[in-house]
Amino acid sequence: MRSRRHSRERRSDVARRAAAPPRAPAARPQINPLRAGLRLEKVPEPACVVVFGATGDLTHRKILPALYNLRRVGLLPAETTILGFARRPLTDEQFRADLKEAVARFSRVPLQDALWADFAAGIFYQQGEFHDPDAYRRLSQRLDELSVARGTRDNRLFYLATPPSLGPTIIDQLGRASLDVEGRGHGWARIVIEKPFGQDLESARQLNRDVQRVFRESQVYRIDHYLGKETVRNLLVFRFGNGIFEPIWNRRYVDHVQITVAESLGVEGRGAFYEEAGATRDILQNHMLQLLSLVAMEPPIAFAADDLRNEKLRVLRAIDCDWTAERLARDVVRGQYGPGWVGGKPVPGYREEPEVAPDSTTETFVALKVEINNWRWADVPFYLRTGKRLAKTATEISVQFKQPPLALFRGLQAEPEPNLLALRIQPDEGILLRFVAKVPGLGLDVRSVNMDFTYGSSFVSDAPEAYETLLLDVLLGDASLFTRADEVEAAWAVVTPINEVWEAWDRGAHRPEFPNYAAGTWGPEEADHLIERDGRRWRRL
């Protein structure tokens, strides 16, 4: 499987010729005792970050601002080097000027000229075609030179900021140029892959095979920026850092769980992409199922990458994926927005968006009821909904608890509502607990009150961008917040059967009557019926 792995002695000749002082020993690194108690007790080793698609939007908007901010706060070593790789002919200087403009525009803090000058000294550019083996030989040579000149110790991070279709080509070429090789005089080699990780279960499996033909799984970091968000990470702290919630986090006390990822935005010029993806592939398969697995997982035995991912995987595998046509018709609702009003402004329907077919059946909304067949969650429905052009942008997980066993306070003016715990991901990140209290007075009226904790009112310090968190983790070699190959496949195993049934319906007589909701509303009425049929209702956000 990895026939090219051990054929790479020539690469480091240049590095080996590094003059005095002697090269660092290749043995296990010793612990630096002077690090204890500092901001980062473990700091990333110097590395060269090779960005494929260096002239693209993702590099400009996210990757470079994140690296700059990490450097700004002293979390990256000064030797850190960035090597952009793309087709356009640019000089190092032109590339630096291009990135300076991007960082000034997209960084969450203003650009400091002196710091930029220092940072930019480590930025380089390599022109090349993604399918051209010569380009990778030149890349390899450049990396050797930079390793010596910049002291990056031959550590390489390859970041695929390219369209997904180019991924397999680049990975194959990296393997052919032996750029994946680690150890034996070389530093480490890691690769970051952006979602989507395939279009369905089979293409995801094929992509995993392509990746694993060259890289070991421990070298691969599949990035879902949602997992880098501060509040998503806090989900784990909330669940497993507090003793009072875990005992009631199960079918005995929880009535149902709702997860909403709502966007007021439309497709924002990405019509062609969205036509292929739809809400199911764009949001449900990754962000929503990741949130679901974090909410439903068992406590991991340690806060370590594979322990966490093992538990998430077990949840995904416990989801009932037997989507018969009958069950699909009952438990899954798809929708597509028509024209409407959002934020006080008229907006066009999905079919009127650029690059969208006028008779498109792509779903911009999906709501479904999911069952997790394990001891903790059997018979506890998880209701998920996501959509574009909804009434507002909001991401929230709400856990609704069962009513008390004996209704002592029924028959009063207002029926007490069951307890609810809401974890708000965005906006107004925080945690809300709803409980019942007596209304002051002589009578015995009760009403629901909210105990509302907002992060912004208690921790006012700026949270890092998700990409900053995740890039630092990659450089540190911590894969906790990255999706493993088997997780990706397990998530596709949930979603692919749904898409397959829909596609069959679209080809036959069951074409959906789209659009079926107006922009600026909370989705099609059928989504309300889906949950109301069970005697429940969507939480008002």
């Binding site: 090269r23 010793q30 005792p33 108690g37 220092d118 509302d452 208690s458 008002r540």
Partner: protein
Amino acid sequence: MRAARGPDEGPTGDATSPAQPPIRPAIPGTRQHWDARATSVPEIEAALAKLWGLAAREAELAGTAPAPPSGTFADPRVAARLDQGGEVRIRARTSVVTLVVVATRPETLERALDAVGELAARHPSRAIILAPGDPDGPARLDARISLECSVRPLSLSETCAERILVQAGGETAQHLAAIATPLLIHDLPVVLWWADDPPLGSRQLRELTEACDELLIDSGAFRDDGRERLAALAVLVAGGALAVRDIGWMRLTLWRELLGGLFDHPLLTPELASLRSVRLDVLRPGTTIRLSKAACFAGWLAAALHFDVAQPLGPKRSSESLVGTWTDGRREVRVEFRPVPAPADAGALAVGSLQRVELELGRGRRLIRARVTRQADHLLATADWDGAEVARRAGRLEPFDEAPYVAEALERFGHDRIFEESVAQAARLVAG
């Protein structure tokens, strides 16, 4: 007692006949404040209750107003903050800490008020600023109470901060703990910031710390050469009951990060075991050399590298330097504090500031030098191996203000084990 309310940009009124507060939603960037004065602790408590009542009433009126359509606001998140369905909007008190500040001199009071003002936006807290005046004058207490709520521009979260400035004189000024203790918020951590040279071991300080969880001091403000205060600090820290944070120590963080960062290099890490000597250049513009900062830095090195003091610092013949030795039981390391005059661009540098730290390491004829040197606005760290540079890094010096350090003390609560070990070693090194 009188109280007043009003937004920054608007008029103030009197709490006894408050003007009808306007109905308005949470607008990013807006700031509202309410003020009152009092002359006793019960009056302060009553004033606080009244100010919160005014703030809550205004919030309630804003929340029960008919919700405008979301399109009214350019930012949909603003609209999203408005409660729907007529639910009462609550102005929550979100304090995370009570900060007690003691400022014994007018200039430190001014600095402390500036720092507390800056912190209000970042750390929702109650700040009690105690300014003791003439202990021989008539007993008096004059308190200014203010409540300020602001909406942050991006997150649109509202934070509220309370500030109580108590100016006390005579007998009252000698019992600061009796003033502060009733005003502490229940069940929240309490940080005491002594903004001048802290009278470590005094009754006044001891009484106050009994009600506190953490003491914040600045070893850079220790009087004379700092030896006496360092010794007292070591005793306090060794007691273990109180967490102590030191602004002087926090100012050394960049020095520590840069020097420590040099030894991240795999070539240099093992060489720490071959340390031969340490030299610290300490700023001395006048005649007194203040040792506390340099001693803490040296104490950190000693603790991290498992050395103990063999010979405390003493004068070196034919120079103004102080020289001592460490030992790990097998070998000795020379430690030298060298006073240096203030450079032309010293600016606001305090007496006792570090100018340069240099370590010599290596076995046999091999010589490795690692040094951190203060430049105009940054620190430069370099390491060379028999003259060839192997590592270099730089770090920008932070502004001299105290507020960021006070903020750090509020954020990183609890014992700092590294600091405590460093202080113990520092006190042993300067014990004269």
